[in-house]
Symmetry: C2
């Protein structure tokens, strides 16, 4: 398995192999969202890590996670299956269970980013953001009891989101910088968590945080160290369901990930 | 099973139940792409249809398909599994095999759109397009030998795409109307096909059609009869991989689907 470092993300995504593609994990309470349960991206990151241990194709390229039931801090078991191992890519499936019930199912395709070839073209450059040191921590001074995931990442933006000030602004979009608070650098295995750790822009519509049904993440390049520039937005709410797109660029201005999730508004469905 | 109608899509997505959640299907050669193999959305539609036959939750809400190997016209077998059946949603997995090899794996969540509740808000209205009768059929007069899928759908747009005229325009985006040529109306079960039947905008960059690795489709509402308004675009090509987003509105202006796929350029990887 990958080395355990001093960083919390690595400690809390440690996997103990149990043979035949199965792993045990300890989900901690340090990644809880407003719903009082562990962040979906944290669970997805555990599953993607479990799938990353092939002989080749170490780099996640695309992953889709279906969130079936809320997780709880405590023991979890992840069973993995190789779906197809080809020359250029490898696809696997991971099922995370707690107390015998399936919590998350992830299918993911891996590649080797050192061996991918082909053109790169960006028709949508990273958002224009002032340097992080000229911006504010939007959560500074706010008490978010129980939302432990807010202690794991920090943000820099021009102003706090309206909902945090009690005045939702009506525009469910946001651009900001993000990084781990403990200095861990971003990498392909932490992007599934980071892509789901963005501020919930739906709250700008006066809604409570919604529940993710499915999240698909495209990984595009290994991120450079430093802050990540993020743009999150929702364009359509339909019968209580909405998408949330998150594009992430690294400190060198390269697009490193695109995520899209389908989520259900609190009280809808 | 659903009724077989006089329409080709329904004939060619007919499923014969074999018990225990398994179905046999006959993939025809009437949905072939430029790669000479059946369109991925057609295969995805077969899998989604196989999963749709639950006692409740008839409507696909979100589906993710991983394309593992090219399919061939001929017999296929789809094995389905109920992952979780809850009150508001049901999630299932389908695996399509040909000659014992897995071709496509689909995970999908279903809901009942008659029973979903919650607000609807559109912050991104449908593209401004002149009425279909004032536009042209961009494929009229072009011979696309072997690309049988081009006979299944028809498009209306302002002008043919540059690549078709031998002059790729450099902008991988397009807005157009789309419908089945035989008069079949769109519905939730045909949208997985239609979302993948859009013109391959990557060809505007001078590329050959690319191979889809994964496609996620969000279904938002049952489409009204008539033409579908589509907007397709690619914003990022990274090391030979690119996303392609497709938003689809119905003839009444309601968003009915959003798809995003990760695809590999021809010759890349």
């Amino acid at each position: 398995m990958r080395r355990t470092t001093e960083f919390l993300f690595d400690q809390d995504t440690r996997l103990d192999p149990e043979g035949e593609g199965a792993f045990s994990a300890q989900i901690t309470d340090l990644w809880n969202t407003a719903a009082g349960s562990p962040n979906g991206g944290y669970l997805m990151a555990l599953c993607v890590r479990a799938l990353s241990n092939g002989p080749a194709h170490p780099d996640p390229l695309v992953a889709s996670a279906f969130f079936l039931r809320p997780a709880s801090p405590g023991a979890a078991r992840i069973r993995t299956e190789t779906v197809r191992a080809g020359r250029r890519t490898r696809t696997g499936e991971a099922r995370m269970r707690q107390d015998g019930k399936e919590i998350v199912r992830v299918v993911a395709t891996f590649a080797d980013f050192d061996r991918t070839e082909g053109r790169t073209l960006c028709l949508d450059p990273m958002p224009v953001l002032r340097p992080p040191e000229e911006l504010i921590d939007p959560l500074a001074g706010f008490d978010l009891p129980g939302i432990t995931v807010a202690d794991r990442v920090e943000y820099r933006t021009g102003q706090p989101p309206g909902w945090l000030l009690g005045r939702p602004g009506g525009d469910p979009s946001m651009t900001f910088w993000m990084r781990f608070t403990d200095g861990r650098e971003p990498d392909l295995l932490s992007l599934p968590f980071l892509a789901d750790a963005a501020c919930p822009v739906i709250m700008e519509l006066g809604e409570l945080p919604s529940a993710t049904v499915e999240l698909t993440l495209h990984l595009r390049a290994r991120p450079a160290p430093g802050w990540l520039a993020c743009r999150v937005n929702t364009r359509h709410v339909s019968g209580g369901f909405h998408e949330e797109d998150c594009d992430i660029w690294d400190s060198r201005g390269s697009l490193v990930a695109q995520s899209r999730q389908l989520a259900m508004l609190h009280g809808a469905g």
